[in-house]
């Protein structure tokens, strides 16, 4: 089934400027893997060394944070949108 991954501006230098990427995937995890295989430069920014989605990257399936949907294993249906949004945090430690 076909889903669309929406890519924020800051990520597009790793996607040859592509703002949206359509692919076939059955779970969010699979969609992210297809995306990072297609654009390998994005890989280390999506997942950390342990293979987890980075702490400051929020992933949404349509309107919902995937952490409310059971995580990246949640399944996709035709026409779904996956959004990548960097978390907006201030940080503070010196």
């Amino acid at each position: 089934m076909s889903v669309t991954i929406e890519i924020p501006t800051a990520f597009r230098k790793f996607t040859d400027g592509t703002p949206k990427y359509s692919c076939s995937a059955t779970t969010v995890a699979e969609a992210l893997n297809v995306l990072t295989e297609r654009f390998p430069g994005l890989g280390k920014h999506v997942r950390d060394d342990q293979g987890q989605i980075r702490q400051f990257l929020n992933v949404y399936l349509n309107e919902e944070d995937i952490r409310f949907l059971g995580g990246e294993g949640c399944s996709l249906k035709d026409g779904d949108r996956v959004l990548l949004v960097p978390s907006i945090a201030g940080g503070s430690r010196e």
Binding site: P8, T9, A10, F11, K13, H45, R54, Q55, F56, L57, N58, Y60, E63, D65, R67, F68, L83, V85, P86, S87, I88, A89, G90, G91, S92, R93, E94
Partner: protein, 419 residues
């Protein structure tokens, strides 16, 4: 670098100069304002403060302000109240309330962060500013945008308290109500900042915005006679304030303005939205986001942006986090008002309720100096406590009617003495 500050990636350390950006475009981690403290030390002198007004701008060398900056208003400088009555009830000798419920101009600590954010907005030549908000921030953006001539557009969850919506609308600000909770609003604003050339104070101006919170901490230290407290109890929504008070204290130590001492940081949340306190109490490596369900809507952020840093700050300081129910929040608002004459919003009820719990649990000692941070005004959240105060029946304007009224009261409670 001619200025003493610039943006730095919190994780990879890359420097970005000064620019309206909140995350590192190399590793997508958050940016913060980093200072050249040697340069700050050369220009910041404690004795200079004596001749300055008591507001947040007195600490200007410690804030990200451009050269030639002129203070546009008188934000901050709020009272630190020695809460003797409440302290007595709790068995504490040195209890203080930092009262940002009376912060100028919009009656919450958000006036501080908007003040530094709008300074950055001027610098980056934004014409339109805005924010995602649970209410207080929208009030502050609206009021200060009106003062400084910005166009303002704020985004709020559709179910916000009417008083908070009114306190934004009155300044002529465009309000966009979103069908969703704050986390939905915040995500939309991240996308808007990506698309439009707007200065969203808590999105693309967030590093500058967050620095304004430090002044809450500087004032606490100065008002305690340039000493640090033993404990600080701080409300947590996005989790930024607690980290910035800690940063403020570290900076004052670095400058030699206060003596170094361990300060425990205690975070306060409502049980109905407690991802950070839950993360602390369960010792989680990462907090788990929640769907907010609480009357403390100014703290109702289920996916707190600074949550990881707040948790680290609390752990490193050997503090703790707690949360309280909606019922406890209302009782704490009443307790603070009746004990100290301070009418706090629901978030203040959270902080006071949590402080009471921490004291009861032995985490805060009787002789220690403890500061409870009240960050917003009760007039904004009256709907949360209206039911506690049903209107009394009116009486005739005659002395005998008043005497009858007193007798009835006496009979009902035995608490009202007939004079």
């Amino acid at each position: 670098m001619s200025e003493s500050y610039q943006l730095r990636c919190r994780e990879c350390g890359r420097l970005w100069g000064n620019t309206p950006k909140s995350f590192c475009e190399e590793c997508f981690s958050p940016l913060e304002v980093a200072y050249d403290y040697d340069a700050v030390k050369r220009i910041a002198r404690k004795e200079d403060l004596a001749s300055r007004s008591f507001n947040m701008w007195r600490y200007s060398e410690l804030l990200p302000l451009p050269e030639g900056f002129v203070a546009p208003n008188s934000v901050g400088g709020t009272p630190l109240v020695h809460a003797r009555h409440l302290g007595k009830k709790w068995g504490l000798q040195n209890l203080y309330v930092k009262n940002d419920a009376v912060c100028y101009p919009s009656l919450s600590f958000k006036d501080r962060v908007v003040a530094t954010a709008l300074t950055a907005a001027h610098r980056f030549e934004f014409k339109t500013v805005g924010c995602s908000s649970t209410g207080n921030l929208a009030n502050a953006v609206a009021a200060q945008s009106a003062q400084q001539g910005f166009e303002a557009c704020v985004f709020i969850p559709a179910d916000l308290e009417p008083a908070k919506v009114l306190n934004t609308a009155v300044y002529g600000t465009r309000i966009v109500r979103i069908n969703g909770n704050y986390d939905h609003v915040n995500r939309l604003c991240a996308q808007i900042a990506d698309r439009f050339h707007w200065g969203l104070v808590n999105v693309n101006l967030r590093p500058y915005y967050a620095e304004g919170s430090k002044t809450h901490g500087y004032e606490i230290a100065e008002q305690l006679g340039w000493t640090l407290p033993d404990n600080v109890v701080v409300p947590m929504a996005g989790g930024s304030l607690i980290t910035k008070i800690a940063k403020a204290f570290r900076e004052l130590i670095l400058l030699g303005w206060v003596k170094e001492k361990p300060v425990k940081f205690f975070g306060a949340q409502a049980t109905g939205c407690s991802p950070i306190s839950d993360g602390v109490k369960r010792n989680l490596a990462r907090f788990e986001p929640q769907r907010p369900e609480t009357i403390a809507r100014s703290l109702a952020i289920g996916n707190p942006a600074d949550g990881p840093y707040a948790i680290k700050e609390i752990r490193d300081s050997r503090g703790w986090a707690e949360d309280v129910s909606d019922r406890e929040i209302v009782q704490a608002i009443q307790l603070l008002a009746e004990s100290e004459g301070i009418f706090a919003e629901t978030a203040g009820g959270v902080t006071v309720g949590v402080a009471q719990k921490l004291i009861g649990g032995g985490r805060i000692g009787a002789k220690e100096t403890t500061v409870v941070c009240v960050t917003g005004n009760g007039l904004k959240t009256t709907d949360a406590i209206t039911a506690e105060y049903p209107s009394a029946e009116a009486i005739a304007p005659r002395l005998d009617a008043f005497e009858a009224y007193l007798d009835a009261q006496l009979a009902a409670s035995a608490g009202v003495a007939r004079i």
